[in-house]
């Protein structure tokens, strides 16, 4: 993994062997670009790139690509999230070209939450491709310089391609084979689901390392600070595929209410520090949901600041 495939700063940070740091920014449910820019500027100097979600939880929002462009124009490097729920292969390929035309150098390929969770529960879903096939598609466009239809692309997109992984989802026995499959499809970096169960994550990482997968991809551990014990309980009980151990809930419940947010940050920082020592962890994806202003503090206290110059 020595030569660069894109103009991505994230790619350079990871390939130089630094722990990479990404965060995330949800586009607004309206046309005010200032919201996106404000979130981006809050974290700009503390991360290598910022993921922009694509109609997350199937709620209609400003398009991920448009929000990425707003960030890019502020000098912030975006990671374009693309879900296969809403667009067929024509639209996906077209948006990939559009993103590359604005020098958006990173992409994260996802299937997306089912539309029944969102504000258009009666809508169709597309799923012409699945997330792995989307990874293959971008790689094909970039590396072969061709569309899926076979025609040559005039000036192919240069994009560093990522995928998501959930070390905690069911069934557990295919967690590593599934990761291997995504890497075989061409995922160059992986951002994981939020990690709270460190032991289980370490076991997953150990298996990934044993299988040589960390030689082929950069695994960025997903981190989401808890704002309160209520949030922790909600994540544990209501969010599919989330593993929140009792000890996290007890620890948050053990401090007075107005200090729970601070304790949530403490836990997050401790987890980052602990996981920084784990073989195969290439960086952190800090998803502070509607709490972007805390990202700089988390990054600084975790010893990940300043970000390397590459």
């Amino acid at each position: 993994m020595s030569e660069y495939v894109s103009n991505s700063r994230l790619e350079r940070v990871l390939k130089a062997g630094h722990l990479g740091v990404t965060s995330e920014c949800g586009p607004p449910r309206g046309t005010d670009a200032e919201e996106v820019k404000k979130k981006g500027l809050l974290i700009k100097d503390h991360v290598d790139a910022v993921n922009v979600t694509d109609n997350q939880t199937a709620m209609t929002r400003m398009s991920s690509l448009a929000a990425c462009i707003h960030l890019k124009l502020q000098g912030i490097e975006p990671v374009l999230q693309m879900v296969t729920r809403d667009r067929n292969r024509v639209a996906l390929q077209s948006d990939i070209l559009g993103a590359a035309s604005f020098d958006i150098p990173n992409m994260l390929c996802l299937s997306g939450d089912h539309q029944s969770f969102g504000d258009c529960a009666q809508g169709q879903n597309v799923h012409d491709l699945d997330s792995m096939q989307l990874v293959q598609t971008v790689r094909h466009m970039r590396d072969e310089g061709k569309f899926l239809g076979g025609d040559a692309i005039k000036q192919p997109p240069k994009i560093f391609v990522g995928a998501a992984a959930n070390p905690f989802a069911d069934p557990f026995e295919i967690r590593i084979p599934r990761l291997a499959k995504k890497i075989a499809c061409g995922a160059e970096f992986i951002q994981t689901q939020c990690i709270y169960n460190l032991d289980k994550f370490k076991e997953w990482m150990r298996r990934a390392v044993d299988r040589g997968l960390t030689e082929k991809t950069f695994i960025m551990a997903g981190m989401t600070p808890m704002k309160s014990v209520g949030m922790a309980k909600y994540m544990k009980n209501k969010v599919p595929g989330m593993d929140v151990p009792e000890e996290i809930i007890n620890r948050l419940a053990g401090v007075e209410k107005k200090k729970q947010a601070e304790e949530g940050i403490n836990i997050c920082v401790e987890h980052i520090q602990e996981l920084s020592e784990i073989k195969g962890v290439a960086g952190f994806h800090i998803m502070a949901i509607e709490w972007e202003e805390k990202v700089p503090e988390i990054v600084e206290r975790s010893g990940l600041y300043p970000r390397p110059k590459v």
């Binding site: 299937s111 969770f117 899926l148 689901q193």
Partner: protein
């Protein structure tokens, strides 16, 4: 088979209220098996409509007939001699039967009495579940005999997605995760190595996407 379910009676009444002579036309195939449009359901619907219109003080002629199949010229011809006795037909066949009858009897309004749901199986008494979406390019050989196109809410060909929890789909705790079923089956077949074979981008041109589909068999043509 094709699974259908009865339309709400209010909707049927709304559709037929302006006609005086109505034929309820059942089908002896799939809709009989799934108890939505066979002889028994024809009788029940005809009785309900008679009672309703009688209570409204309206005199209507409600006829009953159930054909062997409504997706076949031969059987549909059986009503040619009576079709002009009616102002409208409520077909309790699937969408195929309704249309085939409509094509044959151009001047008679054909109204659907059922909603056609899916291609499925009779899983239990009173329970019918989807098994196939007729995508036109069967992948079952690669997925342990369990169909991700019809049984995964995202028709993910390389699953499961991140929403699989305790064997259930993210859309509902009552819906099995198709990929959990696929993995269970691959394990039972001792073919878990197959799991890591990547399913290529699918040709959906044989699916709905390619427009109305046709099968032509020269060898069976007359």
């Amino acid at each position: 088979m094709i699974i259908a379910e009865k339309k709400p009676i209010e909707e049927i009444i709304q559709e037929v209220k302006d006609f005086d002579r109505i034929l309820i036309l059942g089908c002896n195939e799939c809709v009989t098996v799934c108890e939505a449009g066979g002889k028994k359901e024809v009788e029940v619907l005809a009785s309900v409509l008679r009672m309703y219109f009688m209570a409204q003080g309206q005199e209507k002629t409600i006829g009953e007939r159930t054909l062997e199949r409504q997706c076949d010229h031969e059987y549909l011809e059986e009503i040619r001699n009576i079709i002009d006795d009616y102002d409208a037909v409520v077909s309790l066949a699937c969408g195929v039967g309704v249309q085939f009858a409509a094509e044959k009897y151009l001047t008679t309004p054909l109204l659907p009495g059922v909603n056609t749901i899916c291609l499925g199986a009779n899983e239990d008494r009173g329970l019918w579940t989807e098994r196939c979406q007729a995508c036109g390019t069967c992948v079952l050989a690669r997925t342990g005999g369990i169909c991700p196109v019809s049984r995964c809410a995202k028709r993910v060909l390389n699953g499961p997605c991140g929403g699989s929890t305790n064997g259930k789909c993210e859309i509902s705790k009552d819906t099995d995760c198709a990929w959990q079923l696929i993995i269970d089956r691959l394990k039972a077949l001792d073919k878990m190595d197959d799991y890591e074979k990547v399913a290529p981008v699918k040709d959906w041109s044989t699916d709905r996407a390619g427009g109305p589909r046709t099968v032509i068999r020269e060898d069976v043509k007359i």
